[in-house]
Symmetry: C2
Subunit: 242 residues, 2 copies
């Protein structure tokens, strides 16, 4: 893990860019150290584009005493393009624009390779981050591609609580993995998400094997998650990571 830049934000949060095995990432740490860590998931739109929203979540989390970190997803941002996934994305767009149902084949082609490749990368990032003296205590995962969150919750014992955003297509295979999830979950759903199947999201929530799971559904479209939903998610992490 090589730090490539650092800046102190005006609220005292230290923001450092890093690379790890060629993958760019960002780490935010609060003044109080060591701090428990939240991995910030995000959609595959590139870290540069996602930066304002990620930084806002990081500062909000730092105010609650959490360090946060994120890495670029495969095929996104400055990482090499990934023609197979781009093809699946084009197929998805075409089906949605034609008003056709999105087939299992498209969802599998879009999501499964991303999950298979991304999850070991997040685990490698976790190895490196937990070796830093300013990071300590349990780890949470928050947001982004929900299928990545599901897989991480199943295979990575160091992740002990997760906030998941039910806002993207989930392959059938991941529904099966959801039954194996046992960590506390806080699931966000936008009730009128244009590009998401509400019933599938409710079925997924039902499938999770966790004994503590809460669904917070809010009126509005995909990007309309209200500000107060972030406060509730922060309280969830405070309950489980501190």
């Amino acid at each position: 893990m090589h730090f490539t830049s650092e800046q102190r934000l005006d609220d005292g949060v230290l923001e450092r860019a890093f690379t790890l095995g060629g993958i760019p990432g960002i780490l935010w740490t609060p003044a109080s150290a060591p701090a428990p860590l939240i991995l910030l998931g995000h959609p595959p739109l590139g870290l540069r584009k996602m930066y304002p929203r990620l930084a806002a979540r990081a500062r909000h989390s730092a105010a609650e005493g959490f360090a946060t970190a994120t890495i670029e997803l495969p095929g996104s941002g400055d990482r090499p393009r990934w023609p197979a996934v781009e093809q699946a994305r084009a197929d998805l767009r075409r089906a949605m624009e034609a008003g056709e149902p999105v087939s299992d084949e498209i969802v599998d082609a879009l999501v499964l390779p991303l999950v298979d490749k991304a999850v070991p990368e997040w685990q490698a990032a976790l190895d490196a981050l937990l070796a830093l003296p300013e990071i300590g205590g349990p780890v949470g995962y928050s947001g982004g591609v929900i299928s990545i969150g599901i897989r991480l919750a199943v295979v990575e014992p160091r992740v002990s609580a997760a906030v998941l955003f039910a806002g993207s297509f989930v392959p059938r295979a991941l529904f099966e993995e959801a039954r194996q999830v046992t960590i506390p979950l806080h699931v966000l759903l936008q009730w009128d998400d244009e590009g998401n199947d509400r019933q599938a999201a409710l079925d997924l929530f039902d499938a999770f094997g966790s004994k503590e799971k809460s669904l917070h559904a809010h009126l509005g479209g995909h990007t309309g998650v209200p500000q107060f939903a972030g406060d509730a998610a922060a309280q969830f992490f405070t309950r489980h990571l501190k």
Copy 2:
């Protein structure tokens, strides 16, 4: 409104029993006055039986600066028995024990008379409570029989936000009234509520006309609402009543 007893609880909350037109009630006020008011709904099991849970909600609310009040429901507690509703309750029990679907007729007979009679009583209580110098500001309604909350939200303009518990049967007529609700709503659902139809609860949430509405669903049965759900409800009222 006649106060019949008063006691100062150990956290400084003043608890006063009252009667209003022969209906018993309880008012809890925090040290800071005037305070905004939350009406505490409850199931028709009698105030005496419900007292421990109501008092706990009242003290939690007082700690956030809210006054709370509740009145006995018609046919419950020390109020005259109501044979028609008792008959409907017996019919419901019989249907559920026989594993039969609960008919619209049973739900209507159980809930509609209760709503028709209770809602004007809560409005009369509101008249009396808002005349007290220690009560001021906007009013919320919280919990209890959800159909009473729906009707109050439609007909009572002084109620400006509501926490509703989707844990009891809702007549079809109340689904129609739900579309007319426009105040901010915070809806609680127990995901595995034995005596409640989950899909009906989700349909009801969908039907509400409010622009701001959130559904908080938690794993567990009817009485298993987690402690932290109360904190989130309190934050909802703090956002809307202060």
